[in-house]
């Protein structure tokens, strides 16, 4: 059994929050799998879903563990545990839905309530910019809000891929700038026993009769 040694500089925990239906799971799916599910076939997240992706910043590889939380009110009472140990939090709203933008206040409230680390990097993300014709929140308005809240701000579209990489790159770069978040980061080596024989195919083609 071969052993594959995978080296990466650190693991970062990132949390996605925001109203239901703003596209948190779609944004994540675009980032991790580069796919997009049309509205009809996308189901509401229940509880919390997890995704992992590696990202390279300044020639160093980082492992992102992303927690995709349900936007619905129900079953949110244990949310506080989700925030524990998070280095970055992404607050998502829908640029074509004012309510989801106004609710950011509530999400900030929850964030400040539960987030143990005061230096946690926050980012506001306006999703669905592909719906330019039905846009209600202008970039200017959101930018002003983000300035006031002292957070990062990016607009993106999970559907068209626009801005999605920027969301995570910008966030991770900011996390790496913060010494207090850095302290917890130690180089790690992941040893997986999951060998991938280079010649897998030959193993199976013999099953031909």
């Amino acid at each position: 059994m071969e052993v594959k040694v995978e080296e990466y500089h650190a693991t970062l925990k990132i949390l996605l929050i925001g109203n239901s239906n703003v596209g948190k799971s779609s944004l994540l799916l675009r980032f991790t799998d580069d796919t997009f599910l049309p509205q009809e076939s996308a189901a509401a997240t229940i509880g919390v879903d997890f995704k992992v992706r590696y990202i390279v910043i300044d020639d160093k590889k980082y492992k992102l563990t992303i927690w995709d939380t349900a936007g619905q009110e129900r079953f949110r009472a244990l949310t506080s545990t989700y925030y524990r140990g998070a280095q970055g939090v992404i607050l998502v709203y829908d640029v074509s839905n004012r309510e989801t933008f106004e609710q950011l206040d509530n999400w900030f409230h929850e964030l400040h309530l539960y987030c143990t680390n005061k230096d946690v990097v926050k980012m506001i993300v306006g999703n669905k910019v592909d719906k330019e014709h039905s846009r209600i929140i202008s970039s200017k308005e959101a930018e002003a809000y983000a300035d006031k809240a002292k957070t990062l701000f990016v607009e993106c579209s999970a559907k068209t891929r626009f801005g999605v990489e920027e969301v995570f790159e910008k966030l991770v770069k900011k996390i790496l700038e913060k010494p207090s978040l850095q302290k917890k980061i130690e180089p790690q080596i992941q040893v997986t026993k999951r060998e991938v024989p280079t010649n897998t195919q030959s193993t199976y083609c013999c099953s031909n009769v």
Partner: protein, 592 residues
Amino acid sequence: METNLSTELSPLSQNWTSTQRFDVTALCVRTVTNRLWTNDAAELEWKKKFIASIFMHFAVDDVKEQDVLLSMPGENNDTLSFINLIKSNFVESEDDNNEQKKDIRQEIVFDLLLVCLGLVQNNTNNSIDSNHKRLNLKERLNKVISDVKGEEITDTLLTSNISTSQVMELGEYDSRARAILFEIAKSIDVPVNIILGLEKVIAQHIYFFQHKGQHESTNDNNDDEIDSNIKELQNSAKASLTIHEKEKKKWHWMATGVGVVVGATAIGLTGGLAAPFVAAGIGAITGVGVVTAAASSVVLVTSLFGIAGGGLAGYKMHKRTQGLKEFGFTRIVQDDSIPLIPSLHVNIVISGYLLSGSDDGVIKPWLPTFENTSNYSDTFALSFDTEIIRSLGRAFHRFLAEQAVKVAASQAIKQTVFATLASALLIPAALMKAGDLIDNPWALGVDRAHKAGLVLADVLIEGVQGKRPTVLIGFSLGALVIWSCLRELAKREKYGLIDSVIIIGAPIDSASPKWEKVISVVSRRFVNGYATNDVVLGLIYRMHSLDLNVAGLGAVNFDRVENYDLTKFTDGHLGYCNPEAMEAILQEIGLN
């Protein structure tokens, strides 16, 4: 911001009207009474418990009302109209008094899941509605059922005095309860992924609740009362751990029911007794400030997930035994940065032969399906006597390389359905000679698969997997392990353990009279996957057995068996260990 398990997992039915609660109860009683597995005394006893839990949970506590429900006729033509009548009361609509009703169907499934987990709440205090509406409903019900008076099925339940029956045990998720849950959900058009989602959310809640408690234990207040409560809890948690410590010694139990292997087979623990999850959990409970729910959550967690915390991986057979040398589980895990949240059911997957030199063939075929999927569930790969099943894989290869086999195979493929080609008595001499190659490893493999099945039955009866419904999936000899396990469970009348079974390329006589008993221990789905181009199975099985019908080659015609023709996914028996093929196969069958 205090949170406890009981409010988090509190029933949603409290907010329904009493009419709605009555209707849900009616639907449950109806579904339970109509569902038959073995229809014996033990099953009746279990149904009584289930219905008693339903009555308590939905606060149908009037004996007369209970009688009305229990005297509903069993299965008849009215089933559909009955369900439609009931259902109209759950979906979004305006009723006669122009009162807006919201769709409560998902809430129904959630509450039933609580009942299934033994988290039954006595709702009596909350039934504040007037009885007026209910009476109307009774009239309606009576109208629906007045035409038919076939009361035999429920008669026994009616006379068995439900009100004194026990309710479902806390933290014991019986596979029959899960089957009922799926059936009810289907009848009110709630999709399966909603059930799976709710199972996931409850599992996550139990997990995060414990971790939350653990972290908050440091800044609890010093209220005397809470202190003493905590002390009490610590004691009970300690006691619980001590009991299991004692059981640790007992774990070196003999595999009593295993006739063939008996004597030398002992299954012991190789890893630590309590897996990290449960250990953390118990620690957390002792520290948590809110105490009302904590005591029950010790029971919930230790029982449901097993004290080994889904630690099948911790078990390995020690001793060399007569026959079986190796028996163990490998856990298929998610990425190590993702919290290891246990699921409310367990999958056990079994490969029937190994083609490569390493042992990874035991888990590899299953990885694309079960590793890092967003709907993760605890999955363990069972390995048994890998040396023998590897030599079988090698023998398969050599066998297929023989000229006589190649000729026979091409014939077989021409005829598409192999069953018509050769009977066991008409195998050409050259083929028989080729068959010699495989004789010994095959006979050995069959023997070990049978024994591994018996040990697996013991492991499941002992509850090593926790009291959670188990799904068994296996191909080739792996299917035989499952078959042998199910026969043993049937023999020992252990119902309520197995949720679903998927056997693929099974070397099992598809006309065997044993099927009925074997199916009876499976609460929900029984899937047989076959391929008509499975030359290996076709030739070998016939050389070794006089039976002409093999489950792995064609449909099995017994009640409740779902047959899937998998010919398009594989080029023969050895195609099943290809991970991509297996992923496509399980996708086709559907893991739900």
